[in-house]
């Protein structure tokens, strides 16, 4: 058997114009064909970026009679329509809120999601406060941060409430970005 010739052993013919064109064409064509598959994939990869934050929708969450004036906060699921890629589901749980009835038919609604990193906060009746089971943030009944060392950057997210027909509690439900001082809708 012959000794195989090493492909790079040929001396480079210096300054040859044709040689230069060959190299340039090889690089250009090679680069172009290599670039197409990643570009094709990139579009689908980046697709989620064009999904806009959803505007909060007003949802009937509870009846006023379910809440006693000056009573403890109670947790209610929020049922709404939900789109998950190719599926659309109607009237499914999309989140939950704590509702508390204050004086003069005022209702306070707090999103149950912790603004720190998204765990569900618990209401602790014994201490009359909210507590996050993940990194121990604690919040007062109005949602304010109780312990200044709490990892949460902002109070619990309060949501707009409206009482319709005198008996129905409607909440404009919205989630906000975790870990931010400001409430940025997602």
């Amino acid at each position: 058997m012959d000794t195989p010739s090493a492909p790079d052993s040929a001396p480079p013919p210096a300054g040859d114009r044709r040689e230069f064109l060959t190299k340039a064409a090889a690089i250009a064509i090679g680069g172009a064909i290599t670039a197409v598959p990643p570009i094709a994939g990139l579009c689908v990869f980046l697709d989620p970026l064009r999904r806009e934050a959803s505007a909060g929708a007003s949802v009937l969450v509870a009846s006023l009679s379910a809440l006693t004036e000056g009573g403890e906060p109670r947790k209610f699921p929020v049922l709404a329509d939900k789109v998950d890629a190719w599926n659309r589901a109607t009237n499914v749980p999309v989140g939950a809120v704590y509702l508390q009835r204050l004086k003069d038919n005022k209702i306070r609604a707090l999103n149950v999601v912790c603004p720190h990193a998204g765990c569900f906060v618990d209401f602790r009746p014994a201490q009359n406060k909210y507590h996050c089971p993940c990194h121990d943030s604690s919040f007062g009944l109005d949602g304010a941060i109780l312990d200044p060392k709490s990892p949460s950057p902002r109070p619990l997210d309060e949501l707009p409430v409206e009482i319709r027909k005198g008996t129905e509690v409607w909440v404009t439900f919205q989630n906000f970005r975790a870990g931010e001082h400001k409430k940025i809708p997602v």
């Binding site: 009846s63 009679s65 379910a66 618990d122 902002r154 975790a178």
Partner: protein, 597 residues
């Protein structure tokens, strides 16, 4: 031999084999050189078991948990396969750390091996990324909530954070595309990168040779057979540990199916990420980016700079001290995290609830109806045993109790002020109701307005003065009344006592007990409106009715004491009322062989 020569001519395999097996090991074979090989072995195990899991896994929010459940509980050896994949991942993390320590201690990171060291660090990070992405794939509560925390933390990365989160999650919220993306990362992109880096890592390792531990104990020797044997024994040891864990815990855990609307207080990452989780507790609001991103980033930067630091006179000492300090810090944080959870009763309860729900989900999935097309999450949402106690605790337990607690085992702040509903309408419960000593006690009407009502008076006076024949009639009537409820637990008894029930029915409408002086019972008795209807007393339809509206003519009418009309006032949906009713009546699916819980 001729055939092999022929093959060698065309492939040159002999040289390759020789290079692989007769690599020089300076100072002869040693146990401390085995770590790299154990890692290569683990990776191979993961590739093989991962591909096998892929044969049966389906990434979407309606099928991920379901397919993993099927692997774990229905497929031949599925639990074993998952177990090996799961615990080998743990082993790999541990071995990576050991390998890193060994490399630093032996000074193997120094020039000219910088690139080898860096590719090793990249491999460490890629392996951790594999763990992180793999944790979500079963789509159970634990993986779902823990990963949610992780992706929320990714979002605080300066500038690119929010877009990064969207790209990883596949949109604004968790769903199908979160799974497809995590799966593509876990089974395609990251393993591909790992293979590329392993090739580079081994190539560089061969190029520069092994870093001998000085002083050499023995003369140099070839890789084959002494070092190969040691490597093989080490891999065997790793495998034995993995298999031990697989059998000890019967494979990997699978929690209840992920439910974004169901709180999960037991959300914790895999144990080797606990230190990061714990670290976040020490960064008050808004400074989180320092703990989650800047600090780990700096530590990694120092690690990567070790080859340069090592050139400095005391550099190696510094590197060693730094590594030990970092490991010590990680260990301390991990122990703090575990300790905090151990001593937290709320966490213990959350973990227990999680285990119960996980178990229940499997029981239901294996039930006669199987898993519906909508996915397993609806199994638990429609299960009286799972939802009943929660609804009871939320809506009923401010007045009622269930066996003395709020349904979930807790104690509400307010004192009980209405009947204890455990076993409502059963023979035992009714016998207590007709006991003059108990009827106005706290288990029945004691704390309600009915305490001064006609029924309590009737039991205290009329029932108390019954003669023996009357007492017998009462006992029969109780059996008959209880049969109206058609309770699952009494079904057998009711069938056997058919004659007794017939006599009891007569007693119930008879003059001696005079029940129908106030109540209505089927065709007999008063018009509705004076006292609760005894027709179908305690049946599903009856309980749903009274919860929907206790002020209805059929129930307490105007005499209703504080009980809200849960259905009429829309405090509970018909579905929820049905669930709590079924739960109170003990009406939920139980597999035949096992005794009810």
């Amino acid at each position: 031999m001729k055939a092999l020569d022929w093959l060698d001519h065309r492939t040159g395999y002999k040289r390759l084999l020789h290079e692989t097996l007769f690599e020089n090991v300076p100072g002869g074979a040693r146990w401390r050189y085995v770590w790299g090989s154990t890692l290569a072995f683990c990776f191979m195990v993961q590739v093989v078991t991962g591909l096998a899991l892929w044969l049966a896994y389906s990434p979407s929010s309606q099928t991920a948990w379901e397919s993993v459940y099927y692997i774990q509980h229905e497929m031949w050896g599925g639990w074993f396969l998952r177990g090996v994949h799961h615990y080998t991942a743990h082993a790999m993390t541990v071995l990576l750390v050991v390998h890193l320590m060994q490399v630093v201690i032996d000074g193997a990171y120094k020039a000219p091996r910088e690139f080898n060291f860096w590719s090793g660090i990249v491999l460490l990070l890629l392996t951790l990324a594999l763990s992180l992405t793999g944790y979500l794939l079963p789509w159970d509560q634990k993986g779902f909530w823990a990963t949610k925390v992780a992706t929320n933390i990714a979002a605080i990365t300066p500038v690119i954070g929010p877009s990064l989160q969207k790209l990883v999650v596949g949109g604004n919220d968790y769903g199908h595309h979160t799974l497809t993306r995590f799966f593509a990362l876990h089974a395609g992109i990251i393993p591909g990168l790992i293979i590329a880096f392993i090739v580079g890592h081994i190539y560089l390792f061969r190029k520069h040779g092994l870093t001998p531990k000085l002083p050499k104990r023995r003369p140099d020797a070839a890789f084959w057979p002494d070092q190969v044997l040691r490597d093989a024994v080490a891999c065997l040891a790793v495998l034995v540990v993995v298999l031990f864990l697989v059998f000890r815990y019967h494979g990997a855990e699978l929690g209840a199916p992920a439910d974004p609307s169901e709180p999960f207080s037991a959300a914790r990452p895999e144990w080797y990420f606990l230190f990061l989780f714990e670290l976040l507790k020490y960064f008050p609001g808004g400074t989180e980016v320092w703990g989650a991103i800047v600090l780990p980033g700096l530590l990694m930067a120092v690690l990567a700079a070790m080859p340069f630091i090592g050139n400095w006179k005391l550099g190696h000492r510094f590197n060693l001290a730094f590594l030990w300090a970092m490991m010590g810090g990680v260990a301390a944080l991990t122990f703090l995290a575990i300790g905090a959870d151990r001593s937290n009763p709320n966490h213990t309860i959350a973990v227990r609830t999680a285990e119960q729900e996980a178990h229940r989900a499997v029981v239901l999935a294996r039930g006669p109806d199987g898993i519906p097309i909508t996915g397993a999450v609806t199994l638990l949402r429609n299960d009286p045993l799972t939802q009943g106690p929660k609804i009871f605790a939320k809506s009923c337990a401010s007045c009622h109790r269930y066996d003395g607690h709020d349904g979930l085992g807790g104690q509400p702040k307010d004192k009980a002020s209405a009947a204890d509903l455990k076993g409502f309408a059963s023979r035992a419960w009714l016998t207590g109701l007709f006991d003059p000593a108990k009827v106005d006690g706290s288990l029945y009407f004691g704390d309600t307005a009915h305490k001064r009502g006609k029924m309590v008076k009737y039991v205290k006076e009329d029932v108390a003065s019954l003669d023996d024949a009357g007492k017998k009639e009462l006992a029969q009537a109780i059996v008959a009344l209880s049969a109206e409820a058609r309770l699952k637990a009494q079904r057998e008894q009711d069938r056997q006592d058919e004659a007794l029930i017939a006599t009891g029915t007569k007693a119930l409408i008879g003059t001696k007990l005079s029940c129908i002086d106030c109540h209505r019972f089927h065709e007999d008795g008063e018009e509705l409106g004076t006292a609760p209807d005894l027709t179908g007393y305690g049946s599903r339809e009856w309980i749903v009715g009274i919860i929907t509206n206790p002020e209805h003519q059929r129930f307490y009418g105007a005499k209703n004491d504080r009980m809200p009309a849960f259905g009429e006032e829309k405090q509970l949906t018909p579905h929820e009322i049905g669930l709590v009713t079924d739960w109170l009546r003990g009406e939920w699916y139980e597999p035949a062989a096992k005794k009810p819980e």
